[in-house]
Structure formats: C-alpha cells, structure tokens
C-alpha cells in the first residue's frame, strides 16, 4: 500500500466579490455571524505612521473580562440571565480549553449556550444532545445546544432545572471563561463577575512597519490578478513578517510573492488581539472605507479576522472542530471604489461559511 503524500489536509476557501454600495451585499451579516473573533490584522500599503482615526477606532474596541475557574452552572443564574442575556448580547467562550481534547463552552449573543463535551462528560451530564458531525468511527464528542431565551429554558422550567442540576451536581464543569457584553459592557456582567476571580482586559494592539516589500499588483477589483490562495499566503507571510524574497542563501522560507508584482516602499501592519466583538469590527471596516476614499498611492487595504481556534462554534452557530488546524478566518480586501473581495477560509472540521 503506497502512501499518498500528495493529499494536503482538507480546507475550504470561499471567495466572493461585491461592493459595499450594492444593497444585496451580505458583508454585514457575514461579519455579524462570526461571533468569536480572536485577532484582526490590517495591512495598509504605502502608509507610514498609523492614521489617527484608525488609531482611535482601534483604541475604542470594547474590553473583555476573564473569569478564572467559572463553574458553568453560574451562566444559568437567574439574575445574570435577566440583566445580561435577555438584554443585549453576551459573548462568552471557555478559555484554555482545547475543542478536540476536552470540554468547551460557548455562549452566543442570541442566547444559545453550546457545550462541546467528550463522551464521559456527556454521559454524566444527562442532558439531550447530538453526536458531533466530525466523529470518526465511534462517537466520542457530543454537542449540547440550548436556547436560553426559549420558553422551555425559562428559570424554573423543566429543561432549565435539568440542565442546572446536571451542571451543578453531576458534571461540575469549571473552566476559565472570557466574557464580553454589548452594548452594556462590564456593568451588566457585574453580578456574575463579583462572585468570582475576574480581571478586565483591553485588546492588545501592535503596530509593525514594513519596508521595501514586493506585493502583488492589485490595480482595481475587476482584474483577476492573482488567485486567492497565493494572495492569502502572501498576506499571511506579511502578517507573520516572513520574507517573500526566496533568496538562494536563505533556507527558512521559500514563499514567493505572486506575479504580477510591484514593489512597495513601505506598509503598515496593525493587529489587535482579544475577544473582539463584530460590532467593533464593523466600525473598523467603515473607518477603513473612509481612509480609502481619499486619494492614495495604493488604492487598497486588507483586513483579516481570525476566529478562535478552540471555539465549539463558528459562523452562525455552526459546529467547529480541529483536525489538524482549526482556522476559521476571513479576509476582506477593500478598494477605493467601495468594491471588495471577501475570502472565507476554514479548516477540515468546520461548517461551510455563509
């Protein structure tokens, strides 16, 4: 039996082209549906210091809270449900848990609590759930998804009590948890935070100025200059500060810039890390559109949003897993005439992005 080494790990890439001015463009719903965003990186060609408006938008991203060893039944607390979940949207994700190894918890803004459990925990918990879509041979991972805003899960109801007793007395699930609330911020979460060991965090911003780099020529959005795979590879190399020169003396990287290419004298790469809300990303996109409206040397900008690798859900509540890599990201390449290319990429164990 010969080994087929040509097979690369399965991944999915969806590319879309549209314009912000087009009323059928789905960009806002696509951004909204990716609830848990870990990192946003922006690449601005021919840009020196960070523009002040961009800086202020980045600095105004909402802060998020980290609770250490939160018992998950606390998310079913009546007061927390009334003040935070029913009003506005709560974004919560278990932290320092691996989705392919252990139990993960996600609280989505539409009030859905999603638990991704391994077989033992699921059998101990005793609540209805479905086997994961990515099981192989034997069922080893189960997903329990409950809608906390549904009438059957109202506090005191049968479904609510069953889940509460399961989490409180049978399973004892406790993980670190990152939490954010829109639009209330920390105030609505205070009742939950005050009972545990919590800390507030601001998203971490880092700037990186690149000089003398080759870049694929992207004059307008109509020209099919380079295919999405090579463009995304180049973009990733820029973000990771990997050289694309492929000089014969260097063995570290053989990545090349896709043809046709031009040379940029400088570029700015800014990235923000943390639990980022889709609303903040919307504002960033609007700010970048304003930036591009003014005449520039290079008339494009790119924004890449990475989702959490260890989140049990990705776009719109679809199940997410890790086979060899759990990437779920999208790249928005914007041009000055309000047109854009959107590339949505996921790994093997993921649902199709919208």
């Amino acid at each position: 039996m010969s080994v087929d080494l040509d097979q690369t790990p399965r991944s999915l890439l969806i590319s879309e082209r549209s314009s912000f001015l087009d009323e059928k463009s789905r960009i806002s719903s696509q951004v909204e549906q990716q609830h848990f965003n870990y990192k946003v990186s922006v690449l601005l060609p021919e840009c020196g210091p960070t523009p002040s408006h961009l800086d202020s938008v980045l600095n105004s991203f909402s802060s998020f809270y980290l609770i250490r060893q939160l018992p998950i039944y606390e998310l079913l607390d009546k007061h927390f449900l009334e003040t935070a979940v029913y009003q506005g949207s709560v974004y919560g994700l278990s932290y320092r848990t691996r989705v392919d190894e252990e139990n993960c918890v996600a609280l989505m803004p539409n009030g859905r609590l999603c638990l991704s459990l391994d077989k033992d925990s699921f059998q101990v918990l005793g609540v209805e759930g479905k086997p994961s879509r990515f099981n192989h041979r034997a069922n080893s991972r189960y997903v329990v998804s409950v809608d906390l805003t549904d009438s059957s899960m109202a506090p005191g109801g049968r479904g609510y009590l069953r889940l509460l007793t399961g989490l409180r007395s049978r399973l004892h699930l406790k993980t670190d948890f990152v939490l954010s609330h829109h639009p209330g911020g920390g105030a609505s979460l205070q009742s939950l935070l005050s009972r545990h060991d919590w800390s507030e965090h601001r998203p971490e911003i880092s700037h990186h100025a690149l000089t003398n780099l080759s870049c694929p020529a992207l004059p307008t959005s109509d020209l099919q200059s380079c295919d999405p795979h090579s463009f995304l590879e180049w973009l990733g190399a820029m973000d990771a500060d990997v050289s694309c020169e492929n000089s014969s003396s260097s063995f570290l990287s053989s990545l090349v810039c896709p043809e046709p290419k031009t040379t940029l004298s400088r570029a700015l790469s800014v990235s923000v890390c943390g639990l980022l809300l889709p609303q903040d990303i919307h504002r960033l996109i609007q700010e970048l559109r304003c930036y591009l409206e003014q005449p520039r040397l290079e008339s494009w900008a790119s924004l890449t949003v990475h989702g959490f690798v260890d989140s049990p859900v990705s776009w719109g509540g679809g199940e997410h897993g890790v086979l060899r890599g759990g990437e779920n990201l999208y790249t928005l390449l914007m041009f000055h005439d309000h047109t854009y290319h959107l590339h949505l990429a996921t790994g093997a164990h993921d649902t199709c992005p919208p």
Partner: protein, 278 residues
C-alpha cells in the same frame, strides 16, 4: 476525540532525565504519559520483574499541560520482551502494580498467542529490525476485537536512518492488516529531544499509512480506550477491583464507577432450583 497521550516513555534511573522527559511531554501538550519498564527475561539467569517507583518520588510537582489548566498524568507500564511463552506470567503479583501491560513478541507463534489469548493491553510491533514474521489479518483482527492495540514507536526512526526505513515499512504492513484500527503511536523516548508533539505525530501517522482522522485517533481516542481496557482488565468482570490497603492485614473491596468499564454488568447467579420428590 480525547486528550493526547504518549504511552511509552522509557524509564531511566537518572531522575533528572526522566523529569525533563515528563516536563517536555507536558510542554508539548500530552495530558497523559506512561513510564515504560522493560523486562527482558532470559533462560540464563532469573530476573526479577522491576517494581515501579512511585510517581511522587520521581517528580515533586507534576507540570501543567500546555494550553490546559491541569497537571500531566503519569502512569506505569510494563513491557515484557518475549522470546518464549513461559516468560509471560500473568499471575505474577508484581504485574499488578503496573497500570498497563505490554508484550513484544519475537516469533509468529507468540504473536498469535498474544493477539488471541493473553491478558494484555498493548502489543509492540518491532521497529528496529525487519519484521521477523508476517502480520496476518486473522490474529490482528482478533486482537482488535478483544480491545488489544498495536503500538508503533517512532523514536528509533529519529535516531537512525536505517531504523527509519524499518519503522515505516513495518508500520505500513501493520496498517495493511488492521486497516488503521487499534493502533497507537508512541515514542520510546529516552531523551527529551526524541519527543514530538501530538500534531506532528498525526502527520507522521500519514507516512505510516493511516488516514488523517485515524492518525489523530492513534494519539488520542485509541490511547484512551487502552487505558479503559487496562482498568477493566484489573477488575473482576468489570465491576469490582481489590486493593491491598496500607495496613498490614486484609484486602478491602471497592466498587468503582461502572461507567469506567465497557463490560456489561454481570448478572447475579441464581441458586439452582431445588428438586423435591413428591
């Protein structure tokens, strides 16, 4: 999927080396490791089965696994290198102090016996030499049905290029017989540098002929099923196990959770109905 495990870390008498092995394994992301004591009995002189050193003597503070918030779990394992059938004595009380039992058979007859009848958890596939016997489908499937897994260790492949060829060739012939089920990948690492991370092992599994998902299972779910098999092997009928209490005298009986064992609950024997003459 379950947590990543490496069930073969060679035991060395040097405490510092063993400690660095365990720390490297925790750093790479393995949540459970097993320290392997190799017992190679020969006809010439009688050798005692090694006793495992308690974990708290080896290392004071178990390191936290990278990316999680729990410390690494360390188990003990015994590998008996068998060239004759009399070398494996399952009734030996020294075997009971080990969590996992493994056999490394040298002949075809022993391999067949190990697959079909011996009370063990792991069968080691030789990787340092050309396979001395062919791995036929019948005993391999019999072993997989019983819950016994086959182990392929990779650190020999790291040390030497000839071993690399043997490892890949032997692993490929194993995969032809077992179709990727019931295989675990582990290092037989003697030094911390010979350990590789779990996702790297998933890639290595592709070279051995496993599919993507099978290779990932070989490092996680199959190892978990080996541990459950070992726990139920040490019980009676999968329900009760006995442990010697710390005090000198008797044994205590404890019933662990029956969820841990995959065997169904044993029915109580009813006394035979009395026959009366009338």
């Amino acid at each position: 999927m379950s947590v990543f495990m490496d069930l073969n870390l060679s035991f060395t008498a040097e405490r510092s080396r063993l400690r660095s092995l365990i720390e490297t394994a925790a750093h790479l992301g393995f949540s459970t490791v097993a320290i392997n004591y190799v017992h190679e009995p020969t006809t010439k002189k009688k050798q005692e089965v090694p006793t495992p050193t308690p974990i708290n003597e080896l290392i004071d503070q178990l390191p936290i696994v990278q990316g999680r918030s729990r410390p690494i779990r360390v188990l003990n394992r015994l590998t008996v290198v068998m060239s004759e059938s009399s070398y494996f004595r399952p009734a030996d009380p020294a075997y009971r102090s080990f969590d996992l039992l493994a056999i490394s058979p040298a002949t075809e007859k022993l391999f067949h016996a190990a697959c079909m009848s011996y009370d063990i958890d792991i069968i080691c596939v030789p990787v340092t030499e050309k396979l001395p016997f062919t791995l036929k489908r019948a005993p391999v499937n019999g072993a997989v049905d019983r819950g016994v897994v086959f182990e392929v260790s990779y650190s020999a492949a790291i040390r030497d290029s000839t071993m690399r060829r043997y490892t890949i060739a032997n692993a490929n012939s194993l995969m032809e017989s077992c179709k990727g089920k019931g295989v675990i990948l582990s290092s037989a690492a003697e030094k911390a540098l010979e350990l590789r991370g779990p996702y790297d092992l998933t890639n290595l599994g592709l070279l051995f002929g496993l599919s993507d998902k099978d290779a990932k299972e070989a490092v996680s779910s199959t190892c978990r099923s080996v541990l459950l098999h070992a726990e139920s092997r040490r019980t009676a009928n999968g329900i009760i196990y006995t442990t010697k209490s710390c005090s000198d005298s008797s044994c205590q009986q404890e019933a662990p959770d029956s969820e841990l064992c995959d065997a169904p609950a044993a029915k109580r024997l009813r006394p035979p109905p009395r026959v009366t003459d009338s």
